[in-house]
């Protein structure tokens, strides 16, 4: 019984919490992270086995907990199994990484107990089969991750991030709660099975959709609910940041799919357009912000916003196709979205782990104070490079495969009958293409500035390679990125059952295709074969190199950089993150962030440096969040005097209340 086994493992995680509290920090670190990696790995293995059919699907279980009259219902169906795999692959390697990384934590006691709790929460959400368990696990996940966000509590910025995060999380939970309230109906049947039977009226369904979008979106980082992401994800310890970006956002995606594709049952055409519009906007805004920022971990968090946008765009497409009963197309879009979820889980975790390694080695997150790290931490640099290439959707790595599938799905969308969709989809395609290209730029910057060139600070110069565990975690993820990139067929087939579960249709089996190439849509016959591409590239590269070395030997002389004849030894003259971003900032930053550049030139003869100051203002924050906070404090100020009235005035309040009620009564009678 896979479900039982998984629940036992989760129970193990929960017990690990106690170990985290009890054990001394040194041994606690090894035990907690060791156990966490074991449990996560086991869950991933079981769920994977379920997904590829080695284990029976769809088994359910009810524990005597949760809502008394309902019990705690759990179910393991393909959808949940798939997301468990996504979650626990990240969790597994992040935990291994943490065994070494954790050594540098000053207050490990603030992390060790919450880390396994966080994992447990994330694992419970996909298994939940009734509303209470779902929200319980959901909140547990939020709470534990919040504790991890504020674990470095001595930096005020982290505390602000914690507040913002927890409030946004509560907002999301409330939205989901209300959505479930509508789903359950007045009868209050909170079991998912009951919800599926109870069909909502169109209006209610629309309401549910909106609430689900708010709830899941606020956790996933869907624009405009993404503001907490770049604050909270970097604040946590790096392996946790990796999980929050790589795994937790996927849990939110799962919640969205579960509610909108599975539980509601019906859907309206405009839902898809809304999702796609938000997704595309998120992809663009996220990657632009990533291009502008200087903090390595914030860059990664913003790129998460982009990828989430990408995933949601795919989901929207799938929904649109499903509405019009275009089974194959819907399956294609859904597979693309799910595969991208898996990929993002892999390379975003990898990148955060890399950023953590840099942070450990140098104590710096600001890329403008780094540089030349590749000479001192070559292995980390290699892993980070693979991750960066993968996330920039470069063949033959995995990021490209999901992007390619999404484009293939978009190319099928002229079959859609609804005019609105026909207008939105190509625009979305353009936005996605643009954001993909920008991602390339962003990650050239994110890798090039810190790792290449010459060190810009002493810390960067003193850097040293990280420990074996950290490297192991990163290399495993990098290997997976490559594997998914060159053998996508198997993974897409593995995702098949999930797609069938929510779409009802499935792609033709890919593993059977000639030369293991990818032919999602036989009658179009478009195909891609990562294996071949990598083979070709290696062959040609080796061939070329061989021939060249044969012709010209390996003569090589080290010298100063030429730099058009006037090299400057000072590393400040290198291009920095800020200057690298300048062209894109000038071109696109303006409409998104109201960028203002001011240059202060010293008067002629003055030898002082000229300064350029750049200001970014996030319109979403200014026009949505700031007014809200202002409103709350305004009301609070207006009400506050009620604390300082005289007794006589309080009596007056009682008196008026009494008179009012009596009047009501007199009129009512």
């Amino acid at each position: 019984m896979p479900l039982t086994a998984i629940l036992w493992l989760i129970g193990g995680l929960i017990l690990t919490v106690l170990l985290g509290v009890a054990l001394p920090e040194r041994s606690g670190r090894i035990v907690v992270y060791g156990l966490a990696s074991i449990f996560a790995g086991a869950i991933a293995a079981i769920a994977g086995a379920v997904l590829i059919g080695l284990q029976p699907m769809d088994d359910s279980l009810t524990l005597p907990m949760g809502l008394p009259w309902l019990g705690a219902n759990f179910r393991l169906d393909p959808l949940s199994a798939g997301f468990l795999v996504v979650i626990d692959l990240s969790a597994l390697f992040a935990s291994i990484y943490a065994i070494g990384y954790g050594r540098h934590e000053r207050e490990a006691r603030r992390i060790l107990p919450f880390y396994p709790a966080f994992l447990a929460g994330m694992n419970l959400v996909p298994l939940a089969d009734d509303v209470f368990v779902f929200l319980f696990a959901w909140e547990l996940m939020s709470l534990a991750s919040w504790a991890l966000v504020v674990s470095h509590h001595r930096e005020p910025a982290n505390l602000r991030a914690g507040i913002l995060y927890l409030i946004m999380a509560a907002f999301g939970t409330l939205a989901l709660l209300l959505a479930f309230g509508l789903l359950a109906g007045p009868a209050g049947d909170y079991a998912f099975a009951g919800i599926r039977n109870h069909h909502a009226t169109p209006l209610i369904a629309d309401l549910i959709f909106g609430l689900a979008l708010l709830g899941a979106g606020s956790k996933a980082g869907l624009v405009p609910l993404h503001v907490w992401l770049p604050e909270a994800h970097p604040a946590a310890p790096s392996h946790v940041s990796g999980l929050m970006s790589g795994a937790m956002t996927k849990v939110a995606v799962y919640a969205f799919i579960r509610i909108v594709f599975d539980l509601v049952g019906t859907s309206a055409w405009w839902w898809a357009t809304v999702i796609m519009a938000l997704g595309a906007a998120g992809a663009l805004l996220g990657i632009l912000a990533a291009q502008m920022d200087r903090d390595l971990k914030r860059i990664l968090a913003f790129s998460t916003v982009e990828n989430i946008g990408f995933i949601f765009a795919g989901l929207g497409l799938a929904l649109a196709f499903r509405d019009e009963h275009l089974g194959l197309a819907a399956a294609l879009a859904m597979s693309a979205a799910l595969l991208h979820a898996l990929n993002h889980g892999l390379f975003k975790t990898l990148l955060f782990l890399g950023a953590g390694a840099v942070l450990n080695a140098t104590g710096e997150r600001n890329i403008d104070r780094l540089g030349g790290l590749i000479h001192r931490m070559g292995l980390t640099a290699l892993c980070f490079l693979i991750g960066a290439a993968a996330i920039s959707a470069l063949p033959p790595l995995n990021g490209f495969v999901s992007e390619w599938l999404t484009f293939q799905a978009i190319l099928l969308s002229p079959e859609l009958s609804h005019w609105g969709l026909r207008l939105v989809v190509p625009a979305m395609g353009a936005a996605l293409a643009l954001s993909a290209a920008l991602a390339g730029a962003a990650f050239v910057r994110a890798f090039g500035i810190p790792f290449l060139g010459r060190p810009r600070s002493l810390a960067a110069d003193m850097a040293h390679e990280v420990d074996r565990f950290s490297l192991a975690g990163m290399f495993a993820l990098a290997a997976l990125c490559i594997l998914v990139g060159i053998l996508p067929g198997f993974f897409i087939d593995a995702l098949g059952p999930m797609v069938v579960r929510v779409i009802g249709a499935q792609l033709p089996a890919q593993a059977g295709q000639a030369w293991l190439s990818l032919v999602p849509n036989p009658q179009a016959g478009s195909s891609y074969n990562g294996l071949m591409v990598i083979l070709f590239m290696t062959v040609t590269a080796v061939l070329g190199a061989g021939i060249v070395h044969r012709l010209s030997g390996r003569r090589l002389r080290r010298a100063d950089a030429w730099d058009c004849g006037f090299p400057d030894p000072s590393p400040i003259t290198q291009y920095s993150g800020g200057s690298f971003a300048q062209p894109v900032r000038r071109v696109l930053g303006d409409f998104a962030f109201k960028v203002t550049e001011t240059v202060e030139m010293p008067p002629p003869g003055d030898l002082g440096p000229a300064r350029i100051t750049v200001q970014l203002r996030d319109p979403i924050w200014e026009f949505v969040y700031a007014p809200l906070t202002r409103a709350v404090s305004w009301i609070a100020d207006r009400l506050n005097p009620l604390q300082y009235l005289t007794i006589r005035r309080y009596l007056g309040l009682v008196f008026t209340a009494l008179i009012l009620l009596l009047l009501v009564l007199a009129i009512w009678q």
Binding site: L411, G448, A559, F580
Partner: protein, 318 residues
Amino acid sequence: MAIVPALMVQGGQMLLVLLLAPLLTGFVRKLKALLLRRRGPSLIQPYRDLLRLLKKEVVLAGSASSVFRSAPYVIFAAVWVAAALVPTFATGLMFSWSADLIAIVALLGTARFMLALAGLDVGTSFGGIGSSREMMIASLAEPAMIMSVFTLSLVAQTTQLSDIARFMLEHNVGLRVSLAMALVALLMVAIAENARVPIDNPATHLELTMVHEAMVLEYSGRHLAMIELGSALKLLLYVSLIGCVFLPWGIARADDAPGAYLLGLLLYVGKLGAGGTLLAVFETSIAKMRVFRVPEFLGAALMLALLAALLLFVSKSF
């Protein structure tokens, strides 16, 4: 069709592009010189340059890392593989299914990614200028390219390049608004991607105006040779891409008679010549534009391509 001839065609094509690439570059240079009333270098000058570079030793900047050293080979490999998959004189290449048009665009993206990293690697100011501008240009050019790819594949019902070519060849596509727009967009992208005037000037080393040259500034010897060959290949790729899609006539199809192949070959060389001529004329008749006008140029391309795709989405008949 049988394996052996298929392999021959595939291999022949790969060799062909490799051999013709420098020639095309040389041809364009020569033509530009003639148009400017200069004698100009001989057609085979690029081959000479490559050999000379190969003979020279590599002078490597002290701060250069393995990225810098491996980049030329990766770039070369990526571009070559991409070029190998573009039908030149024959469709139905043996390995054409291993990458479709989107993948080809992405392969060029890989090459660009490595090149930009190489530009940053030495840690000079010029390398940085080059990379950042290159990425800015690319981040507009690539979506434009993708959108015109969309247009093509919406017409041809596939993203498989050789299938698109065959479709263009066999079906009477006729003159279509969308295709015209896509063509224009594609041309603009091609100019940008190959660092030609007015986006960039391949001949200049005037620091502040260069983009591509600034990235490869630190390269020397065999590395530079690979880079040069790579960019030559890229130019050839674009010309033959446009050729095989928009003027596919004469491309030999699978299981055609050898004669057809020969004809295709001749026509292909002709197309290259025509493309080169057009490029030379265009470059000599226009001045390089400021870097920050480039986005407008490419933005126009993007809008055109998007419009083309949009038209097709709305109705197939455009």
